[in-house]
């Protein structure tokens, strides 16, 4: 009899431990640079659908998003960059929310006290976040180089840019000047087509240069020149991770389908905030498949997101 009781107690204990090993959260959706650290492993990437156990920590990067589902089914979003303890998030989920009856009461009170829709004109200073104007460059520099604002340069690969050709002279040549951020000349080249590939800068270390400043001017028309465009070196802490992921990713891409390869690379770059490289890939893509509507539509959508004007 005693042995039976001991066996039952042991069985109950084992069951309790087994049932207690369920997850705290699962990842519903993830975007950006999000990491997880568990009790048995160091920081690593988070995958959608993965289970997160109690005692773990998560880190949400800048401009990143993490959607979590608690073991109870409740959901929460983590959008603010930072490091979070899973146990703290779990407590937050369990204490949030109110009943239907109390929500109804709050809803009625809010509307009865006029807290629903304020007159924005009476509080105009709180409601002036948008303008009716657009940004324009000065009129002196007529040559536009098609580069997204605040472009970061990861490397000289997939770093191809172009500019609007001289409307007065279709056969014009251009002088491309590339300086570093200390305004020391890296290269000056004359090209006959309205584009330039930074891959031609062999042996250049972008980190050493701290970035590049590009200027293009017409060889024949003194009045047709560009402003200086800066490409800052990408020096974020996750640079090595991105380089490593990029190299690994390139090995998985279809080598025969150049267009698809560039399309996927464009998305990879854009997702990592490297719009200059994304644009370079889109440009190559359109050269390869100018008639493809999907690619054209994707390019136009990208142009809008990157704040460029579509041609």
């Amino acid at each position: 009899m005693n042995k039976l009781i001991i066996k039952v107690v042991l069985l109950l204990l084992v069951s309790a431990v087994a049932f207690g090993q369920g997850f705290e959260f699962k990842v519903l959706a993830s975007r950006g640079d999000n990491k997880i650290k568990t009790s048995s492993a160091d920081w690593g990437p988070i995958k959608t659908g993965s289970a997160i156990m109690g005692g773990s920590q998560i880190e949400v990067g800048g401009s990143s998003y993490l959607g979590l589902m608690h073991k109870t089914g409740k959901t929460m979003e983590v959008k603010t960059p930072g490091t979070y303890s899973i146990d703290d998030l779990s407590k937050k989920v369990m204490t949030g929310g109110s009943s239907v009856a109390s929500k109804y009461g709050e809803y009625l009170l809010a509307h009865m006290s006029g807290g629903g829709d304020e007159d924005i004109n009476q509080e105009k200073l709180n409601n002036m976040n948008v303008t009716g104007a657009v940004s324009r460059a000065t009129d002196n520099e007529k040559l536009d180089i098609i580069i997204p604002d605040r472009s970061m340069l990861l490397s000289t690969s997939d770093a191809f840019f172009r500019w609007i050709p001289n409307p007065e002279n279709e056969k014009d040549s251009y002088v491309v000047t590339v300086n570093n951020l200390l305004e020391e000349n890296v290269t000056t080249q004359t090209v006959s087509e309205p584009y330039f590939d930074l891959e031609s800068l062999e042996g250049i270390s972008i980190e050493d240069q701290m970035g590049l400043i590009i200027n293009v001017k017409s060889k024949t028309d003194e009045g047709y020149f560009s402003a200086n465009y800066a490409l800052q070196a990408f020096m974020e802490p996750n640079k090595e991770t991105i380089m490593s992921e990029l190299n690994e990713y390139k090995t998985t891409l279809p080598s025969e389908e150049e267009a698809m390869k560039n399309f996927l690379l464009a998305m990879f770059y854009e997702q990592n905030g490297l719009n200059f490289h994304a644009l370079s890939c889109y440009t190559k893509l359109l050269v390869l498949e100018p008639e493809n509507e999907y690619y054209a539509a994707s390019y136009l959508d990208f142009v809008k997101r990157a704040g460029l004007e579509a041609e």
Partner: protein, 406 residues
Amino acid sequence: MKGKLFWDSFLGTVFIFFLIGVVFRFSAFGIFNAFDPIGEAMSDIEITDIVFSRLRETPPADTNVVLVNIGTLPRAGIAEEINIISKYDPKVIGLDCFFEDFKDPFGDSLLKAAIQNAGPVVMASRLHGCSEAKGGCDSLGGSLPYFTEGIDLGYANLISTATSQEKFKTNRTFAAKVRLKGERAEAFAVKLARYANSLHVQLLLNRKYPYEVVNFRGYGGLGGRFFSLDVMDVFTENFDPGLIKDKIVIFGFMGQDFSDKSWEDKYFTPLNPDYAGRTNPDMFGVTIHANIIAMILNKDFIGVMGNTTSIIWAILICFLNVLLFNVIYYRLPLWYDGLTKLIQLVEVLVVFFIIVMVFHYFSYKINITLGIVAILLAGDSLEVYQGVGKNTYRLLKIRFQKRFKL
């Protein structure tokens, strides 16, 4: 006295419904509509929209469905997504997209091969020539037979006032089945749900409603209640392998990527936080299908009060109000205006509360609009009845008696 009170209240109730009918007729000419921006804005909301968007407890996430964004991928890209996902043994793959013409031989053939090799697949189709007069639809279209050969189809049509895809679209309901050339065709979401739980699907199809109210659970993508994979997540296989196994995976458009604020293929739904007036559409079509599947698999069906029941309740509520107001009229005439207004206000709040609670706890939609209108009109209309109606009747009665020397 009691008999007089009963008949007085009965006739008062008839009078109120007569007034409602007159007002309805008058407003049917649309005289007020031109100057009624509020009415226009409110015309497309229902009381239960407020429950969905503001009042109910947040429903739990659903784990039966995984949404996969196809973005603006070309066909070869979608084929690759299908190939990757199908490696992980989903229960079924749903393609909420149409391939209506040939694009390029390479991409088309890759896509066809991917669909054929993916295991169980349901493709969205489109009903044509539907009308109530015919009691069904004429045909089913959508993707080319080149892609759909041997593949299960389910119509993706949703109930909406929009006459074409690019117009303003609101969705609250769907038809689980329709008659198609004499046979039964099932909705896309219903077909997908069958793979997971055919019993629940049969329970749905056995219900007596000609349409079903979608019990919206939530959105997909960022801020959603469904597992969601963006384009890059799929290509980099940045997901847990167990996420896909034995799940219903639906491929559809959810923006260029999850951060895209595109309105293409987006509907206005009751979950929209701005439930009245001008606002942005809030839910992609593919996510509506996911919500329908979640509703079926969790048996979260919503019952709807029929028109006959609604009218009976309206008459009963009106009669009881008139009875009470008549008592006040005769016994506390000085208090009539104030008391009736107060009672009407409290009643309306209580009725709304009951509607909200019944909808939340019993998933039953009480349709009591007529009853609410009757409550709101009861106080003043009864005064008109007592003052004008009954006096007019007495006057006519006296004249009639004098005329015919009775």
